[in-house]
């Protein structure tokens, strides 16, 4: 359950910037190839925010889809999973998006 550690780092990243200001909502960017489950983060969020300035804050997710570019044919396409395979048969695929794992912004109360 690495989501617990990662969700704790949400609290750290936010309070480092906002101090003790009450936070009404937190927007995270969790790409669909990031290897982190938003539902599990939401579950952990209530636990790790108890007694902090994020207590009771709404957690929102942007979930960018995976996108890859084939280094052989140059085509860009949606990556539904981590299997790096282009329709042209090449497995030499660069992941362009989908691995994001960041706190984007917060709204203060």
């Amino acid at each position: 359950m690495h989501e617990l550690t990662i969700t704790q780092s949400v609290v750290d990243a936010v309070t480092e910037r906002t101090g003790s200001a009450r936070v009404a909502s937190v927007r995270l960017r969790v790409g669909r190839l990031a290897g982190v489950v938003p539902d599990a983060m939401a579950f952990c969020f209530g636990l790790v925010t108890a007694g902090t300035s994020l207590d009771g804050a709404v957690l929102e997710f942007d979930q960018p889809e995976g996108r890859g570019r084939c280094r052989t044919c140059g085509r860009e396409f949606v990556l539904a999973d981590l299997l790096l395979l282009c329709d042209c048969g090449s497995a030499d695929v660069e992941v362009l998006a989908g691995r994001e794992l960041a706190v984007a912004s917060v709204v203060l109360a």
């Binding site: 990243a13 910037r17 290897g35 497995a91 984007a104 912004s105 917060v106």
Partner: protein, 251 residues
């Protein structure tokens, strides 16, 4: 002064939160909250693994300054991480001195096994934690104090999921899979295999008794990481260990 409404109070911003005010939350301020979302939103834009990655960078520099190579060893529980290390120590065919940081939720069993095999080892118990992180390794390296130009194995907590995301400062990630686990593991745990630099397929002495297709496993793993090296071996009967030693000695 508030840059939006000119009301004489400073706007809420990242710097100077101490004098910030809250637009529209209460009526004390007196004007309608038409510009409220803009004034209350604070951009953070911080990667959630930034701290771990930063500390891992420190570990990597610390190791590089001493010419030490660290390998992050990951697998599900029971795939043979500690057994491979014991065999590697007894085989004495690696050119560098070896020491080990053992990660487990509880017990010092594995560190003791490594010491019994003749190498220095320290144990990290993660308690409820499911993976090692860069902070633990920083502390572990200080405690272990590996010799310059040596090889340090970082044996992660047995888990094919969580350790994949945490950089420890290692030179390479080695994933061990045993043939009794099934050849579908790369596709079932894609993040781990996509992160790996080397996949060791252990317990090949049991291949006659299980339905494990080594070629399928290797092919699927390379669909996740095309540059992956796959080494089938048996810690028990020693077959394939030569390639493992060659890989270690080429680091």
């Amino acid at each position: 002064m508030c840059g939006t409404c000119g009301c004489g109070e400073s706007d809420v911003r990242v710097e100077g939160l101490a004098d910030g005010h809250r637009h529209g939350v209460s009526t004390e301020h007196g004007h309608p909250p038409v510009h409220e979302p803009r004034s209350r939103t604070v951009d953070i834009e911080t990667a959630l693994l930034a701290k771990n990655d930063h500390l891992a960078g420190h570990n990597r520099s610390w190791l590089a300054e001493r010419g030490i190579v660290a390998l992050n060893l990951m697998s599900s529980p029971g795939a043979g991480k500690t057994s491979l290390l014991e065999r590697t120590l007894k085989g004495a065919r690696v050119g560098r001195e070896i020491s080990v940081i053992e990660g487990d939720q509880e017990t010092t069993f594995d560190a003791q096994r490594i010491r019994d095999a003749g190498a220095r080892a320290i144990q990290i118990n993660t308690g409820s934690g499911c993976h090692l992180d860069a902070t633990m390794i920083e502390r572990g390296l200080r405690a272990l104090d590996p010799k310059p130009d040596s090889l340090v194995f970082l044996e992660n907590v047995g888990n094919l999921v969580c350790p994949a995301l945490f950089d420890l400062g290692e030179r390479a990630k080695v994933v061990i899979i045993s043939v009794t686990e099934g050849d579908d593991k790369p596709l079932k745990y894609p993040h781990m295999f996509a992160a790996a630099d080397l996949v060791v397929v252990n317990k090949t002495d049991l291949l006659p008794y299980v339905d494990f297709d080594v070629d399928r496993c290797a092919r699927d793993a390379r669909r996740l990481k095309p540059t992956l090296t796959v080494l089938p071996l048996s810690v028990r009967d020693g077959s394939g260990l030569g390639a493992w030693y060659d890989w270690l000695n080429a680091l």
